[in-house]
Amino acid sequence: MLARALLGVRRERTYYLPWIVRPGLECTLLLSNVEARFKEGFTRGPCPATVIQYDARGRTVGRYDVSLRDPTDAVEVGLGDTPGHGFAAVVSDRIDSDLYVTLSDGTSYTATHGRHEFVEHYPPWTAAVLAATTALLALAGRTLPAFARDQYVYVGPDSRSHVLVMNLSNVTNRVRVVLASADGAARRLLVRLPPRGTHLLDVARLADPVSVTRACRLRLEGNAWFNLYLVGAGARDLDGPLSLMHVK
């Protein structure tokens, strides 16, 4: 907290959800405010909300204004049919419930929920220093490890995890990825994410082929705040049905 204050970093409360659109795979958000049923004074509608959709490069590619009639109402927000991925921020003063993101092949859907966290805003001078420092470190395949996440990922003959890494800041985020295999070998990768950008990490490309499904240890370090969702893929990999899952 002291470091953030010295650097002038501001944290803006943000509810966000990941999104992925592929050919034959639609992504739809499901917004509701059902929690308000249990809160005195908050049970009346309408409840307006705005969804801002960012693509992998951090550009705003969609903006959707919706309104929930009452706490039992649920509204779907389709995130278009242009293949891509990113995250969507939901702006509302009144919504307290967990919101869902769903992926569907038209016959069924998988679902998970978003996270109420924050997006970091760096002032220009801090951003400039950070950019210069991390550019130098990148020459050696390194980053400034201000934040780190550990996550098990899975690789199997007919299923695997991908990881959607989301840069939840207004600066370029260089994320160093280390995948440790069962034999102890480590594969490394440095990913550059633009402000509010995302990267879909193909774990199977870092791991050796396997005959049975197994877990690998993944560690990610970034120079600014980031988070991740697991993306589950079956036998057809990214061309087939997918699932998304939040992690704590």
Partner: protein, 234 residues
Amino acid sequence: MSSKLSGLLSATFAEPAYDHLVELVHQRDATAHRRLTSVRMSAHDAKGREVLALEVDPAREIFDLGAALGARSEPRVMVLFDARYDAAIFPYRPHHYAYLHARGAADAPLYYAVNATLGGVPDRIGATNINNIETYVFRPRAFAERYSVMLGNVSRFATAQAQVIAYYGTERVGHQVEVPPKAHAETPLAADLEGVRLSRVETKAPFRLASYVVGRRAESRQLVLFDHLFTYAK
């Protein structure tokens, strides 16, 4: 070993022919912190009878539940993980996760949070008040899916009279579910009621049960949704 061990009883359900890998700990920082002090796994059939019990090596990070269950005849078992651990292993809450995929299926694997069913130290769960009223919202359009709720009673002595309430617009359909100790049940939810789609489900129980909302492909019956419900009345 710490003299102040925490405890966690967590629960999931397992069906045959799935790869099912359960993370026993939350992967984080130093290797020394990843180790549980002890963990016992047990599996129970629908009537609560223990059909398998194992003392699991606490140094394991991943437990291959699919392999442990092998080719059992039960269509569904409730699996309990009774763990003792140093609180440093779980920095946020006693969350742990699992990977689930129907062998050979084209469907996407699911990754889910294993239910923390108390049984240990409620002050570390983050839900010290009422946590036995839960909600889940469904998409309003029709899919070729079958929905249900799985409930399991992890208690040792008390039978639970639970309610599963499905909402269709302004109408509601209630199901009474009785689950004796260690027993479990899957309650199907009709996808529509006189043309009105299933919009949400609530579960109510006298105490915390293992609870998952389930979606299956209509044709193959394979899982496409296996998720926790949300506790809002707390």
